[in-house]
């Protein structure tokens, strides 16, 4: 599969491809707006989803007592992780684009992606927090530390490598998503880079979808080239996650 994309796309990869806007003419087309859009989306989504996801995970692991409500929240999170991404797109369309009048903007896209990856972030962060031995918590409490002091001084620092790994993987999922963005109306032909979070936008997977759905062979090659860029981006993120995980495992000896 990789070879197929490489075979067709490699020749089309160039600096010009990265720095040009999309065009009707395959030779002139590039992915500047899509790449910028994806980067914007990634940053915005990270800013919103990571604190909220870690916050939920901390609440569920450290604060929540066993009750009907927490069981409901837990059941609900594992369920949300299995909801098709396009359904999030429908929610984003009704809630952010229409309901809150955010239009077809970056912020609508980022909010939709945030809801999409939140369950993944919560689940992986909870695992990382659970892996911190309870003897560390006991030690901290026994010295007179409050719950939050215990969490912020000891639990989170010990869990952060694991949390980071999971969060990066969740973000890389967000970066590859096309369906929900199509739903909320990311445009496929945008000849400018977004300046603010309320601007319309496109993203790499959308651009790939657009090119791949055209019959002309040249556009297929463009799609392949854009796929190479997207995969390179994802590989980098995955590599970062793996490096963090390995470093963590080396230091892990309680």
């Amino acid at each position: 599969m990789l070879w197929d994309a490489w075979d067709k796309g490699a020749d089309w990869l160039s600096i010009k491809f990265l720095t040009s806007f999309p065009s009707r003419f395959p030779e002139e087309a590039g992915i500047k707006s899509a790449l910028m859009g994806s980067i914007w989306l990634m940053v915005l989504t990270a800013i919103m989803s990571i604190p909220m996801g870690i916050g939920s995970a901390v609440y569920l692991e450290e604060y929540a007592r066993k009750s009907i409500l927490t069981q409901l929240i837990e059941l609900n999170i594992s369920n949300l992780a299995g909801v098709p991404s396009i359904v999030y797109g429908i929610l984003g369309l009704a809630l952010f684009v229409r309901g809150l009048n955010m239009e077809r903007s970056l912020i609508s896209g980022a909010l939709t992606l945030t809801l999409l990856i939140l369950p993944i972030i919560i689940i992986s962060s909870r695992e990382a927090i659970r892996a911190v031995p309870s003897s560390i918590r006991d030690a901290s409490y026994a010295l007179g530390a409050t719950k939050w002091q215990t969490i912020s001084y000891h639990v989170l620092p010990a869990a952060i490598p694991g949390i980071l790994t999971g969060n990066i993987l969740a973000l890389s999922r967000a970066i590859g998503e096309a369906a929900p963005l199509l739903m909320i109306g990311a445009l496929t032909f945008i000849a400018f880079t977004p300046e603010s979070i309320f601007d319309p936008f496109t993203a790499l997977p959308i651009q790939i979808f657009n090119w791949a759905s055209r019959p002309q062979a040249e556009f297929q090659y463009l799609a392949a080239a854009a796929i190479l860029v997207l995969l390179a981006l994802l590989m980098t993120m995955n590599a970062a996650a793996i490096i963090i995980r390995n470093k963590y495992q080396k230091n892990l000896k309680w």
Partner: protein
Amino acid sequence: MDRLRIQRIRELAIEKTLFLCALVSVLTTMGIVLVLVFETLSFFEEVPILEFLTGTTWAPSFRPQHFGVLPLINGTLMIALGAAVIALPLGIASAIYLSEYAKPGVKAVVKPVLEILAGIPTVVYGYFAISFITPLIREVVPGTNIFNAASASIVVGIMILPMVSSLSEDAMRSVPGALREGAYALGSTKFDVSTKIVVPAALSGIIASFILAISRAIGETMAVTLAAGATAKMTLNFFESIQTMTAYIVQVSLGDTPYGSIEYRTIFAVGAVLFVMTFIMNIASMWIKNRYREVYT
């Protein structure tokens, strides 16, 4: 003791904030359900629910309009079936291999490859389907439509393969070694142990992984939109163009459908069917996994 008082207030504020974070996920679900219910109900004001659920023609943008969702469900289930035919046997075989046969060295290669496979964006699978698999099928089966269910089924099958494999492997690995040793002590071969001891003992986990993977196939969007076509019809021919529920939703949202029109509302009605189907399967998967989990200590 002023410091302690301030501390207490701060602690409480932090706890409440974190609780609100946890609540977002509940609100998300409520949001999804409310949006789908609300819009679907207003869709049913114009289209009788019976016609929607039993009609065999789906033509919302032609006159006369038809709103029978069965062709879309038909298309969706074809993809799910095709993907299952590919992913389930391969998935369970690779899980058995990884859990029972593979040496650590092989595992160290195969597992990351499966992980990478799972991390590839679905739009890339879609490209792969139309640029590689479809031409291949057309060589073998002349007369195949350029958009066809077979090609999409194959890539969706590849897509859900890692899920079946890794979840089934987890289930098999949690079967205690003592059970295997018991069987070996009676003179069983490795194959016997794998198929007669390990797989039955891990069956609930394996079935749960199947259901979850099929649910994923049903909800899959980009690959089927690109490869399976946009022709909603009642067929069982894998070499024709079809349309799934997800591909229809994308099709509508790509066009210039006026907000509030009946066509716009079809998104939500079809989305509701999709949501209910996947929701039931996810719950069933979880239930089976928990209900029939053998407790080994």
